[in-house]
């Protein structure tokens, strides 16, 4: 029996725009984010993200803290990659002070930041699977992340807020046998990446839900100040580790994965590939870890001379920048944090328009925001 299309031709039938309030407490917003969606049927006609629920006034706090004290607060911006936050703050203050960390400290910093990048992308991988309705990858990803957190715990004593990278160097040298443990983790982790490909990357349902969804063109990405894997997913090969190297990144061999279409799939794919590149960097850092001191000589009371600095690094979510003005006192005069998630989230206003409501979570998840960093 052929089904007949039923056409409703009632003149009294009215359609109207619907406003959907997504969040603030929604498991798929990865934090406290509210998005005001206007819907025409199931097509999004307008979206307005509402942020600020996690605002803690970092920049005001910085004006009342000494430079080393601020390091503790920096952990709380992007709590999934606290090492990067430590690093950018230290680099900024070291520039003001005119201090150069010793080579061993640089290598240790690269080592930690890259391990943290893997951990951070693993959270993305796991939660993005959940967003798409695949629960299993989450368990796999967190199993691996747990091992990285164990490594961090041995080094710094903390699992989330490390406070390991310090002004002038790092907190302490590696504990005994740590290098061996890290190597055995890497050997164990590399085949796991192939497992992910069979779990999620090669999954046709996952591909159908992400390919050609939420396309961010090159021009739009630049216009919205999008950086990091989101920018590279749109086909622009720009990575501060390659283009403006810091901490001796120019000495490491690695590739910058670049997508082509700028859809959710490309943003996902770039992150998965980046994990493989980070493994390469960690291996190289372990291979040629220089001997020597891991701290530069830094005065106990830090009073940088008057100055103004803008430092940025390639954090797992994009360009994390610190703008710091010193007036010669022991506390910074003004600190501004250029949080990559904050800029990346802006594009949601435009990318969501015209998409289906069921793709909304796919797009939001693919941007990979951390609300602690958006609201600071």
């Amino acid at each position: 029996m052929a089904t007949e299309a039923i056409r409703i031709s009632n003149p009294d039938l009215k359609t109207e725009e619907m406003i959907l309030n997504l969040g603030p407490q929604h498991p798929s917003t990865h934090g406290v984010l509210r998005v005001l969606l206007k819907l025409d049927g199931e097509v999004i006609t307008s979206s307005q993200p509402d942020v600020g629920y996690l605002h803690r006034g970092t920049e005001k706090l910085a004006e009342n803290r000494t430079y080393p004290q601020m390091l503790v607060i920096s952990d709380r911006w992007d709590y999934l990659s606290a090492m990067s936050n430590n690093l950018v703050w230290c680099l900024a203050v070291e520039k003001l002070l005119g201090v150069t960390p010793p080579p061993r400290a640089d290598a240790l910093r690269v080592l930690m930041v890259e391990l943290n990048r893997i951990a951070s992308h693993l959270v993305f991988f796991g939660t993005y699977g959940i967003d798409m309705g695949a629960f299993t990858p989450f368990l796999y990803a967190f199993r691996e992340r747990e091992k990285i957190l164990d490594l961090f715990e041995e080094v710094s004593g903390a699992r989330m807020t490390y406070n390991y990278i310090r002004i002038g160097g790092v907190m302490a040298d590696l504990p005994e046998y740590w290098i061996g443990k890290c190597r055995s983790f890497l050997e164990w982790f590399k085949p796991r990446l192939l497992e992910y490909d069979t779990l999620l990357t090669g999954n046709p349902i996952f591909q159908d839900r992400t390919k050609r969804v939420g396309v961010l063109s090159k021009d739009l990405a630049l216009d919205y100040g999008v950086t990091g894997p989101n920018l590279r997913g749109s086909g622009i090969s720009f990575d501060l580790r390659k283009d403006e190297p810091y901490c001796g990144y120019e000495k490491y061999q690695f590739d910058v994965p670049v997508g082509s279409n700028g859809d959710c799939w490309d943003r996902y794919w770039v992150r998965v590939q980046e994990m493989k590149e980070s493994v390469k960097i960690v291996e190289q850092a372990l291979d040629r870890l220089p001997e020597g001191e891991c701290n530069a000589k830094v005065p106990r009371l830090l009073k940088p001379p008057k100055g103004e600095v803008y430092t940025q690094i390639e954090a797992p979510r994009g360009h994390l920048g610190i703008y710091c003005i010193s007036d010669g006192q022991d506390k910074p005069y003004r600190v501004h944090v250029r949080a990559p998630s904050f800029m990346n989230l802006t594009m949601l206003q435009e990318v969501l328009v015209g998409e289906k409501i069921s793709d909304m979570i796919a797009i939001l998840g693919s941007i990979d925001i951390v609300l602690g960093e958006v609201d600071r």
């Binding site: 520039k95 002070l97 100040g225 001379p305 103004e308 803008y310 005069y333 003004r334 609201d375």
Partner: protein, 170 residues
């Protein structure tokens, strides 16, 4: 292009721009205080009436083509004279050069032209500056508070902001 070439291009189009010289050590300062540091970029001081024209030039001119607005923020100064500065960090993906523009404003009822029509990333960043400093951005489609709630009294990142104790201080 290097700093002086960028500045030369700007000077041919606009005359009332000034380059901000790097900070110098004051005469007689003790040596242990160290040398002032500033990034080796071009720093430009632009009057607020000219800012939008300058922004159009920076984005549109093929030799400059600053297509990426890295950061917008503001700084509040009480000394030597009360002053607020809006700071724009710009980057060009085409030519791989960067520069900084500072626009001085009055602390009372400061207002400046929004550049959201040139760089869409300015949207939330300008709202954040408004939220924290009370600098109004003209022609911004939605210049409202973004991180603080709408009823919040005062501008928290101003240097003379006084925190009124509330129930959270106990």
């Amino acid at each position: 292009m290097n700093n002086s070439e960028i500045f030369a291009v700007l000077r041919t189009q606009m005359t009332d721009l000034a380059e901000i010289p790097p900070l110098q050590l004051p005469a007689g300062a003790p040596a242990h205080e160290g040398k002032p540091y500033r990034d080796p970029h071009l720093y430009i001081n632009c009057p607020k009436e000219k800012w939008f024209d300058l922004a159009k030039l920076l984005k549109g001119d093929e030799r400059l083509s600053f297509d990426f607005l890295t950061m917008v923020t503001a700084v509040d100064y009480l000394k030597p004279e009360p002053l607020m500065e809006v700071v724009y960090h710009l980057y060009s993906f085409a030519h791989r050069h960067r520069m900084v523009v500072k626009v001085p404003l009055s602390r009372e009822n400061g207002a400046i032209a929004s550049v959201i029509s040139l760089w869409k990333t300015a949207d939330w960043q300008e709202r954040e500056v408004y939220d924290m400093f009370g600098i109004y951005f003209e022609n911004h489609p939605n210049c409202t508070r973004i991180l603080m709630w709408d009823e919040f009294p005062g501008w928290p990142l101003r240097k003379d902001f006084v925190h009124i104790p509330d129930r959270y201080d106990d």
